[in-house]
Amino acid sequence: MKQWKIFTKGFIKDNPVFILLLGLCPALGVTTSAFNGLGMGLATTFVLLGSNTVVSIIKNVIPNKVRIPSFIVIIASFVTIVQLTMEAFLPDLFESLGLFIPLIVVNCLVMGRAEAFASKNNIGSSIVDALGMGLGFTLALTMLGGLREILGAYSIFGIQLIPGVTDGMLVFVLAPGAFIGMGYLIILFNYLKKKTA
């Protein structure tokens, strides 16, 4: 039951993007389409999972004062692993996300969970937390990407909604659209949070 709560809190109540406002850089940068959002979300989830697991394993071995540098090294390693693997085996996705993959290192979501959760909880909870938070992040990015794709290109996951019409409201493909969509999704999530609370 407790694990379930840890797992689900990342979806709405503590949604990393729309409620905790963590990891906004990738959330705004890569979400030009639902697919990009999904890819970035899953990549981050993987890093989160890895770093949370390792951090919670070695949390008692690490002296307090070198905690942060160690976490960063661990996170950076996982990010590099993702980057290399993706470039090798998913070159297309890598091309559209390429610039933002290294930025996962400084995504405060990953660091934040490592510091705030994994370094205080056991492995099981940490993994569940990483999965919940990562999926919440993925959900948020996919939603934002989907919204922008629907309005900006009249398509979702690359499937045209109106045959023959490809040019949507350009502003949603551009950076301002990311901010606008973000703002209204934050409103929506705060509303949902209030409603479910």
């Binding site: 004062k65 070198v66 540098p69 090294v73």
Partner: protein, 286 residues
């Protein structure tokens, strides 16, 4: 182990080592001595920063507690004894059980009891109306009913009863005292919660002479002194035409409410009386 592995392990490893050495030196140089217990205590506090303890916020209270190393005279109204007990446990101190308190509204000047004599227009705040005039009902101490107290409540423990025009305090009041400060007429008072939430108090603060007070409000305390005579515990004092029940002396015996000719004494959360004697509405002396 090939070359790349070797180079990366050596370079990154030595980088880590150097970083650790620098960190250690920096940590030695800039050691900050802050009592770690402050953090622990602050963690325990509710974090509402309501100011009910009389200090500038929860952190300030935590610092004060740790500095003084005692809980003497400290209280956290929202957290109550539970929180203070926890803090005491953490610090190894002894917490004095404090009687739980709650805010009460000492005015019954509803629209029915104190019918409006003029109409007010303008900024709907008590703060301004209080400066402008005595209030629609004419009682210079009565509730203005524009809800400054409700606006000041951070705990959602108050609401305005739109029928009577009086604020009502709910049971989740933490007695932080914000409403007491917000009321320009000092109608609200922090009182002891009482056993089973039972309370008896004079619901009026008008100090005018009986006749004058009564003219504006049917349920004003007219200072007749009947309750003072009735009370066997010296809990009731009469000053400036106004009776006041000391909540530390009151034993909740329920003797005084029936004798009040204007029903100014209120009892809360008591079971209904079996046969309530008719209250004689005696004409008050001018």
């Amino acid at each position: 182990m090939n070359e790349i592995t070797l180079i990366s392990v050596i370079s990154l490893g030595s980088l880590g080592t150097i970083a650790a050495i620098i960190l250690y030196m920096v940590a030695q140089k800039f050691k900050v001595i802050e009592d770690p217990r402050i953090d622990i205590v602050a963690d325990k506090l509710p974090g509402a920063n309501c100011g009910g303890c009389g200090l500038a916020g929860c952190r300030a209270l935590a610092e004060e507690i740790v500095k003084k190393e005692s809980l003497e005279g400290m209280s956290c109204p929202p957290g109550g004894n539970e929180v203070m007990g926890e803090i005491a446990k953490v610090l190894g101190l002894e917490a004095k059980e404090q009687d739980p308190t709650i805010a009460v509204v000492r005015c019954s000047g509803s629209r029915e009891n104190a019918p409006p004599k003029v109409k007010y227009e303008g900024d709907m705040t008590c703060a301004f109306a209080h400066n402008l005039f005595a209030g629609e009902g004419g009682c210079p101490k009565g509730c203005l009913s524009y809800g400054d107290c409700v606006a000041s409540c951070d705990f959602d423990a108050m609401y305005m009863d739109h029928k009577t025009g009086l604020p009502v305090i709910k049971d989740n009041c933490v007695s932080c005292g914000a409403c007491v400060k917000a009321c320009p007429r000092s109608i609200i008072e922090i009182r002891k919660r009482g056993k089973k939430d039972r309370r008896i108090f004079v619901s009026c603060i008008n100090v005018e002479k009986g006749g004058v007070a009564r003219k504006n409000c049917q349920v004003a305390c007219i200072g007749c002194g009947k309750c003072v005579k009735e009370c066997k515990f010296d809990a009731i004092t009469l000053e400036n035409n106004l009776a006041y029940i000391d909540f530390n002396k009151c034993t909740l015996c329920r003797k005084c409410p029936p004798v009040c000719p204007t029903n100014a004494i209120h009892e809360l959360n008591f079971p209904p009386r079996r046969q309530r004697p008719e209250t004689k509405a005696e004409p008050a002396e001018a």
